[in-house]
C-alpha cells in the first residue's frame, strides 16, 4: 500500500499490516459474535430453562480463565487434529489453526462475556409488559422482538459491541497461544508490540503501535457514546 511508503507516522510496513489485521480480526470477531451474543443475552435475561446456570457459566468462562488456558483449549478443539477443527476443515474448508480466522475466533471467544453483560442488562431493564402490549396489539413474538425489545435494548447492544470490539482488538494471550505470532497472518497489534519489545531498538515502534492502539480504543468509545446518544434521544 502507498501509505506504507509515505511513512507519515513513520510506521513500518509490518506495523501497518498488524494494524490492518487487528481491525479485520476485531471487526469480523465483533460482527460474527454480536448476533450470538444478543441471542444468548436475551435467553439469559428472559427465559428460564434447565441449564440456565450452566450456559451463564460457560459464557463467562473466558472472562475468569487464564487467557492461555482458553487459547490452549481452542487449540485442542479447533486445531487441525482437534474434533471441531478437523470437522470444519473437512466439511466447510474452514481452518482456524495458525490463520487469521483463528485469531478472530480467539478474539470472539474472549470478548463474548464482555459483550453479553451490557446487552443482557439492557434486556433485563425493559419493562416486561411492553412486549406484552406489543403482543396484544397483534405482533407475534418475532415482530415484537424486532420492533420493541431489540430497539429498546439498542443502547446496551451498542455498548456490548464496542466493548467486545475493544477487547478483541487487545486480545493477546489466547490469540498467541492458539494461532501464534505470524506477521501478516496472525500478528495483531498486541502481538506486534510484544515482538517489538523483544527486538533491540524496537521500543520506539512499540510505543507508536501502543499509541495507535489506544487511539483506536478511544475512537471506538467516542463512536459508542455518539450512537448511544442518538439511540437515547429517540425515547
Amino acid at each position: 500500500m502507498e501509505i506504507g511508503e509515505q511513512r507519515v507516522l513513520s510506521l513500518s510496513p509490518q506495523d501497518i499490516t498488524a494494524i490492518g489485521l487487528s481491525l479485520e480480526v476485531a471487526g469480523v470477531a465483533t460482527l460474527a459474535t454480536l448476533p450470538v451474543a444478543v441471542f444468548v443475552a436475551y435467553a439469559l435475561a428472559r427465559w428460564r430453562f434447565p441449564g440456565h446456570a450452566a450456559v451463564n457459566a460457560l459464557a463467562h468462562l473466558p472472562l475468569v480463565m487464564p487467557p492461555v488456558v482458553t487459547g490452549f483449549a481452542l487449540l485442542l478443539l479447533f486445531g487441525r487434529h482437534g474434533p471441531l477443527g478437523a470437522f470444519l476443515a473437512e466439511n466447510f474448508g474452514l481452518v482456524f489453526a495458525f490463520r487469521w480466522t483463528g485469531a478472530a475466533l480467539a478474539a470472539a471467544v474472549m470478548s463474548f462475556p464482555l459483550m453479553i453483560r451490557p446487552i443482557r442488562l439492557a434486556f433485563e431493564t425493559i419493562d416486561e409488559r411492553l412486549p406484552q402490549a406489543s403482543r396484544s396489539l397483534g405482533a407475534n413474538s418475532m415482530w415484537t422482538f424486532l420492533l420493541v425489545t431489540l430497539p429498546l435494548a439498542l443502547p446496551g447492544v451498542i455498548v456490548g459491541a464496542i466493548l467486545g470490539f475493544a477487547k478483541a482488538l487487545g486480545e493477546f494471550g489466547a490469540t498467541i497461544t492458539f494461532v501464534s505470532n505470524i506477521p501478516g497472518e496472525t500478528q495483531t497489534i498486541p502481538s506486534a508490540i510484544y515482538s517489538l519489545m523483544q527486538t533491540p531498538n524496537g521500543d520506539a515502534s512499540a510505543l507508536r503501535l501502543a499509541a495507535i492502539s489506544a487511539g483506536i480504543a478511544i475512537l471506538a468509545l467516542l463512536v459508542s457514546e455518539a450512537l448511544q446518544g442518538r439511540a437515547g434521544a429517540r425515547r
Partner: protein, 360 residues
C-alpha cells in the same frame, strides 16, 4: 357476549371464576389481590389458565379441554394498561398505528381520524411518549388499543394513576368510545364511582372467587366491604328530572318518585333527565318526616338490607319509592336505638348530592 370460566392455582393464590355477560361495559371489581388483573391477563392470553374457557362473541380464545389457547397476538383484544405503557422509542403516531399494522385490512373497521379527533390527540402525534402527561399518555393508550380494531377492549385500572380531573376526563372518553365505536369493554377497577358511572354490569371478586354479579347500583352496596378507600366511598345513583330553579337561593328542585331532591346548582332545562350521586355518609335516617332540620331532601323508602359487622358502622340499603336503591351509613347504635330492621318504612335525609354530569 363474554363467556369466561377460569381456574388457576399459584402458591398463595387460587382463582376459580366463571361469569357470562351481554353487558357493553362489564366491570371486574374487588380489592387488591382479588384476581381482577389475573382474569384480565388470562382473557388477553398474556398468561395461561390451568383450566378454563374464554369465548367472546362466539369466538373461542381459550378452551383447555379442547387444547385451545390462542397466543395474545391472535386474540384481537385491545389491552389498556394502568400506566398506558406506550412504546418509549416510537412517536405517538407510530404508537397508535402499531396495532393497525398487524390488523388484517378486512378487520380494520375502526377509522383513524375519528379516533384521533375523539381522543384529542391530533397535536400530540409527533411527540415522544416521555414528553406526555399522564392523561395524554392514557388517551394515546386508548387510541392505540382501539385502532387495532379489537373485538374487546380490556382496561386494567386505566385511571388508577391519574388525578381527579384527568380521571373524569378519561371516564368521559371511555363513555364516548363505548357509545360511538360499539366495542365491548371489560373494565378492571377498584373504584366504585368509575363502575357506577361506566359499567352496565359488575362482577365482584374476592380471593379469586366471584362473590356477586349484577347491575352496579344493586350489586355494589352488598360488596361495600371490598371497596377501596373503605365503605365510605359507597355511592348510590338516582335518576331524577330537573324541576323549578329558585334563583333567589340558587337551588334547583329535582323530581324523584321518592320525594324532591334539592341541589345547590342550576339545572336546566326543566324536565331534563339527570342523575345524582349520593354518598352513603351523606345520608341520615329518620322514622318520621321532620321539617325541623336543615336537610331539605327527604326521600321515602323501606329497608331491604343491613350490612353490619363488629365495627361501629352499619350500611343500610333502602328501596325507595320508584324502585331505586339508596345506601346510608349509620352507627349500629342508632340502628338499635331506633329499632330499625329489614322491612321498616323509613325516611332518608340526604344532606348533599352531586350531579352526574354525563349526558343521558
Amino acid at each position: 357476549m363474554i363467556d369466561v370460566d377460569l381456574r388457576l392455582s399459584r402458591p398463595g393464590f387460587d382463582l376459580s371464576a366463571a361469569f357470562a355477560t351481554q353487558a357493553r361495559v362489564l366491570a371486574l371489581f374487588g380489592p387488591s389481590g382479588a384476581g381482577k388483573s389475573t382474569i384480565a391477563h388470562l382473557i388477553a392470553g398474556l398468561s395461561r389458565p390451568d383450566q378454563g374457557r374464554v369465548a367472546i362473541d362466539g369466538a373461542t380464545l381459550t378452551d383447555t379441554a379442547r387444547g385451545i389457547c390462542l397466543p395474545p397476538e391472535k386474540r384481537r383484544i385491545g389491552f389498556v394498561f394502568q400506566d398506558a405503557l406506550l412504546f418509549p422509542h416510537l412517536s405517538v403516531r407510530r404508537n397508535i398505528l402499531f396495532g393497525r399494522f398487524f390488523t388484517p385490512s378486512a378487520e380494520r373497521r375502526i377509522p383513524i381520524a375519528p379516533v384521533i379527533e375523539t381522543l384529542g390527540i391530533g397535536p400530540l402525534l409527533e411527540r415522544r411518549p416521555a414528553t406526555l402527561s399522564g392523561g395524554e399518555k392514557q388517551r394515546v393508550g386508548l387510541a392505540r388499543a382501539l385502532l387495532a380494531s379489537p373485538r374487546l377492549l380490556l382496561m386494567d385500572e386505566p385511571m388508577a394513576s391519574l388525578d381527579h380531573a384527568r380521571r373524569h376526563e378519561i371516564m368521559g372518553l371511555i363513555e364516548i368510545l363505548r357509545d360511538e365505536f360499539a366495542i365491548p369493554i371489560v373494565l378492571v377497577s377498584h373504584s366504585a364511582d368509575e363502575i357506577m358511572r361506566l359499567a352496565d354490569e359488575v362482577v365482584v371478586l374476592d380471593h379469586g372467587r366471584v362473590v356477586a354479579q349484577g347491575a352496579p347500583a344493586r350489586t355494589l352496596p352488598g360488596a361495600s366491604r371490598l371497596i377501596e378507600g373503605g365503605r365510605f366511598a359507597l355511592t348510590s345513583v338516582l335518576a331524577a328530572r330537573a324541576g323549578a330553579h329558585d334563583a333567589r337561593y340558587g337551588v334547583t328542585w329535582l323530581a324523584h318518585p321518592a320525594g324532591e331532591i334539592v341541589v345547590a346548582a342550576k339545572v336546566a332545562p326543566v324536565d331534563r333527565p339527570i342523575r345524582v350521586l349520593v354518598k352513603a355518609t351523606d345520608v341520615a335516617l329518620a322514622r318520621t318526616r321532620s321539617y325541623d332540620i336543615s336537610v331539605r331532601t327527604i326521600l321515602r323508602g323501606a329497608i331491604v338490607a343491613i350490612d353490619s359487622d363488629q365495627g361501629p358502622l352499619a350500611f343500610v340499603t333502602l328501596e325507595l319509592a320508584g324502585g331505586e336503591r339508596l345506601t346510608a351509613a349509620v352507627t349500629r347504635l342508632a340502628l338499635d336505638e331506633l329499632g330499625l330492621s329489614v322491612g321498616a318504612e323509613i325516611f332518608a335525609l340526604v344532606k348533599t348530592v352531586a350531579l352526574d354530569e354525563r349526558s343521558m
